[in-house]
Symmetry: C2
Subunit: 167 residues, 2 copies
Amino acid sequence: MKYEEAKDKFISTWGGLGSLWGINKAMAQIQALLFISTKPLSMEDIMEELKISRGNTSMNLRQLMDWGIVTKQLIPGERKEYFITEKDVQELTRIIAKERSRREIQPVIKVLNDVSSIKDDGSEKTKELIKQTKALHDLTQNADGMLNKLVTQKHNWLTKSIIKLLT
Amino acid sequence: MKYEEAKDKFISTWGGLGSLWGINKAMAQIQALLFISTKPLSMEDIMEELKISRGNTSMNLRQLMDWGIVTKQLIPGERKEYFITEKDVQELTRIIAKERSRREIQPVIKVLNDVSSIKDDGSEKTKELIKQTKALHDLTQNADGMLNKLVTQKHNWLTKSIIKLLT
DNA sequence: ATAAACTTTCAATAATTATTGAAAGTTTAA
DNA sequence: TTAAACTTTCAATAATTATTGAAAGTTTAT
C-alpha cells in the first residue's frame, strides 16, 4: 500500500466510524486529515483534499473547535487561518469522552433518575418500571463515572497497573 | 409524574439515545418497551403501543434477535409469537458491548493496523501517518480489550473492588 | 474610506436512512 | 387440502440529515 492509498483509507474509515457514532462524516474526516498532517492546514487545503464545499468545511471546523479538538493556528504574515488538531491520542480520548459524557450520557442519567423516582402506586407495572430504570440508572452512572475517572486522570502508576491487570 | 408519562419518557429517551449510537430508533424503542414490560409482548402489542407499522416491527424485532438481546417466547395454545428482552442490565451490557466490538471496533482496528504497517519510505508525512495511526491502533485495541474484559467477566471480588476504586 | 482576502450563514437541494403497507410467504388447525 | 392466522419481504415514500454555493459579514492593508 502506498502513502496516498493508506491516507485515503485511514480518512474514509475514520469518517465512517464517526458517522456510526453520531458525529458527522465530514467532521470526522477533517479531524483525521489534520491528525496525520505534518503542518497546519487552511480551509482551502481541507476543501481541496476532502473535496467538500467551503460552507461545509467552515461549519465542521467550528464544531471541532467547539469540541475542543481542533484549534486555530495563526501563521505570522498569513491572512488565512490555519488549523491543527490535538495529536496526543490520550488527550484526544479524554476530550472526546468528556464531551460525549456531557452531551449524551448526562441527559440520559437525568431522565432515568426522574423516571425511576415516580411514586410507587403498588401496581406490578409501576414496580417494574421503577426497578428496571433504576438498574439502568445505576449502571449508566457507574459506567460514566468510570469512564471519566479512567480517562481524566493522567496515568499514574495505579491506573497503569489496573489497566495492565485488565488488559 | 404518572406511570404512562414516565413510561413514554423512558421509551422516547432510550429511543433517542439509540439513534445517537447508530442503532435505529424503532429498534431501541422496542427494546425499551420490552424491558419494562411485565409480560411477553406480541407484534400486535408492540405495533399498537409504539404506533409503528407491522413491517417495521417485524424487521426491528429480527435485528434485536440477531443481536441476541430479544428472544421469542412461545406461549402454549397461542398462535402468535411473543417476545421478551434480557432483563439483567449487566448481561445486556455484556451483549451490547460484545456486539459493538465485533461490528464496529474490530474492523477499525484492522484498518488502523493495515495503514500503520505501510512501508516507511523515509518521508516526513509517511512517518507521521505511521506514527499516528499506530498510536490510534494501540489505543483502540487497549480500550476494546478493556471493555471486553470488564464486561465479559461476571463480577468477582477483584473487579468489584477495582470498580469501587475507580467510581 | 475602500477594496481585497478571507469566513460565516443559511435557504435550497441532495443524499441517506427509516417507515409504510400490501403482496408473498409460512405455519397450523380442521 | 384449504383457509385462516400470522410473519416476512421489499418497492415506494416519507423523514431526517448532510452538503452546497452564493450572498452577507468581517478583518486587514493601504
